[in-house]
């Protein structure tokens, strides 16, 4: 096992990793920008190193500063967390070249899954259905492809993610007019103008499967997560199991994901994301890293995903099979952002008072504390409220009462939005799709 893990991230996920290390008896190094000198994970870590100014490109994305921090502290592993460098194959390779373990998949797998086209090709190779579509070679070929898969079609940046730069075309004329703009946008956002065309699915759900592989033949899944409640492609609330799946669909999905990861020889935690509609799953991408919403899978499986990541990176085998994993009850996570609950205007600032809900089945993952100042430089996620219950109904009621108890004063948060959400008949019925939040927020 590692002696000392450097946590190359910030906020609640850095604290999450610190906690897992602490519980394994592994020492921690927090790295931080000058804006995060008072962050909770910095205060709790065994050691901390300031790696740069507030801008992420000069601190949390500064590979040489992070590697230098690992060198001066003698860390023998780096956990990249979520976002920042977590899916950067070059960083993973560089870490390993320095004789330090990268807590994540191999650089090859990061590279494979980091590009939508190669990821999709790999999925097809593993026998997983993908959304019909293909790379855009030229406008004429794109038009022919669009006719084959049927309008409306979605134009995406091949190197993109997070929903950025997606465009919908309902006709050949629209397609022709959208392509140049989409290419320019892709180039601007992602440094690569390559485009991708695919069938547009009407009101699908976003359903993903949590995988753990040890790279030694061991692969298990921890069930699916339904992340359909998204605003501008940002997930707001996730739950497991999905209220939309029956046992057959669930078994098919899990078998496809596990089979693919076994063929790939995948090492680490990862998530295969799918669109689901009317009994059919279409692979969209794989996140070859920890995900923000991993806690809901932990709540139903009892498996500490971050601990498993660390064990796997240290060369340990899973040591258990799918038959040893039992998924019990239901779990829901609300992402609490430092944003106005109606306008979604970011709301950094000082936490005037902070009181978290407690009791049975309630978990809070947050790096906030009373008196802490949320800096304006990073994303707005400040707390994850996760509840677990025997069934979905109990779980929804528990989330309601936990939201009632949660006090975060001094900044605006999305708690009031979540309170509205969990009282909505559609949510209570589990009847929502990836467009539901957009329609809900647009309603008068």
């Amino acid at each position: 096992m590692f002696e000392k893990v450097l946590i190359a991230n910030r906020g609640e996920i850095a604290l999450r990793i610190h906690r897992a290390c602490r519980e394994m008896g592994v020492r921690t190094v927090a790295v931080h920008s000058t804006a995060d000198a008072n962050a909770m994970h910095v205060r709790l870590a065994d050691e901390s190193v300031c790696i740069g100014p507030p801008a992420a490109r000069d601190s949390y994305l500064n590979m040489s500063a992070i590697l230098s921090a690992a060198a001066i502290t003698g860390a023998d592993a780096i956990h990249p967390g979520v976002g920042f460098l977590s899916e950067n194959a070059d960083f993973a390779a560089m870490v390993e070249e320095h004789g330090i373990a990268f807590i994540g998949p191999s650089p090859e797998h990061l590279r494979l899954m980091g590009d939508k086209v190669s990821a999709r090709r790999a999925a097809e190779g593993f026998g997983i259905q993908v959304v019909p579509g293909s790379a855009v070679v030229d406008p004429a070929a794109a038009a022919a492809e669009a006719r084959r898969i049927g309008f409306p079609v979605l134009i995406k940046a091949a190197a993109g993610g997070g929903g950025r730069g997606m465009r919908l075309a309902h006709s050949e004329a629209e397609l022709a007019s959208q392509l140049p703009a989409a290419a320019a946008e892709a180039k601007a956002y992602f440094g690569d103008g390559a485009l991708y065309l695919e069938r547009y699915l009407d009101r699908p759900r976003h359903i993903e499967v949590q995988i753990l592989g040890d790279g030694q033949g061991g692969v298990v899944h921890l069930g699916e997560r339904d992340c359909s409640l998204q605003r501008n492609h940002q997930k707001l609330l996730e739950e497991t199991p999905s209220p939309a799946l029956d046992a057959d669909a669930r078994a098919r999905l899990a078998a496809a994901a596990v089979g693919a990861m076994r063929q790939l020889g995948y090492k680490g935690a990862g998530t295969l994301e799918f669109l689901y509609r009317a009994g059919e799953f279409f692979f969209i991408e794989m996140n070859a890293r920890l995900q923000v919403e991993h806690p809901v899978s932990e709540m139903v499986s009892g498996i500490d995903i971050v601990r498993e990541q660390i064990r796997i990176a240290a060369g340990e085998a899973l040591g258990y099979g799918q038959e040893d994993v039992s998924l019990a009850g239901h779990a829901i996570e609300c992402r609490i952002n430092a944003e106005h609950p109606v306008s979604f205007a970011p709301s950094p600032g000082t936490i005037a008072s902070y009181h978290v809900p407690g009791g049975l089945g309630v978990r809070v993952d947050s790096a906030l504390y009373q008196g802490y100042t949320v800096p304006p430089h990073y994303d707005s996620l400040v707390a994850k409220l996760i509840v677990h219950g025997a069934g979905r109904g109990e779980c929804v009621m528990r989330m309601k009462r936990a939201l009632e108890e949660f006090v975060i004063a001094g900044i605006d948060t999305t708690i009031p939005l979540h309170q509205r959400l969990v009282a909505e008949p559609d949510f209570i019925a589990g009847a929502y799709d990836i467009g539901w939040i957009g329609r809900f927020l647009a309603a008068p």
Binding site: V29, T34, N38, M40, V42, R43, L44, A45, D46, E47, S48, V49, C50, I51, G52, P53, S59, S64, A65, L67, S68, A69, A71, I72, T73, T350, Y354, Y369, Q370, G371, Y372
Partner: protein, 145 residues
């Protein structure tokens, strides 16, 4: 009648008023008799400090809270060297006058030696790091008068 130079602080009086503030939950008391006047205020600021768990020790020495005016700070994380090569004389010593742009120290990061230049001419008044020590971003390395 008290003379102006008689205005000494009566510690017991301040302590008594502070106790009264605590006792009564007030945040300020002002008191004047003739030309004598006292005002005590209790701020509501301790929350920030109290709310946080005990900070863990930092890996490298934390930058001092109040940094001197002529502080030269590390632009990167790495290992600092005071001499150009092992066994050589230090690049600068306390008391040396330095030119703007003169190399003061070296910081090794990612196996590359980076020269740290004097931001302006001056005299080295303090060197705050030891040869071979790890430094973090923003840490004060030395001070120029």
């Amino acid at each position: 009648m008290a003379e102006p130079d008689d205005l000494r602080v009566d510690g017991d009086l301040v302590r008594a008023l502070a106790a009264l503030l605590h006792e009564t939950g007030l945040t300020e008391i002002e008191y004047a008799v003739g030309d004598r006047r006292i005002r005590v205020v209790r701020g509501a600021s301790p929350v920030v400090v109290a709310a946080a768990p005990a900070p863990a020790p930092a890996a490298a020495a934390a930058a001092p809270l109040a940094e001197p005016a002529g502080a030269v700070k590390s632009p990167m994380v790495g290992t600092v060297y005071l001499a150009a090569e092992p066994g050589a004389a230090p690049l600068v010593a306390v008391g040396d006058a330095v030119r703007e742009g003169q190399v003061l120290l070296l910081i090794e990061a990612m196996k590359v030696m980076n020269q740290i230049h004097a931001p302006r001419a001056g005299r080295v008044s303090q060197i705050l790091v030891a040869d071979g020590a790890p430094v973090e971003y923003g840490q004060v390395l030395l001070v120029l008068d």
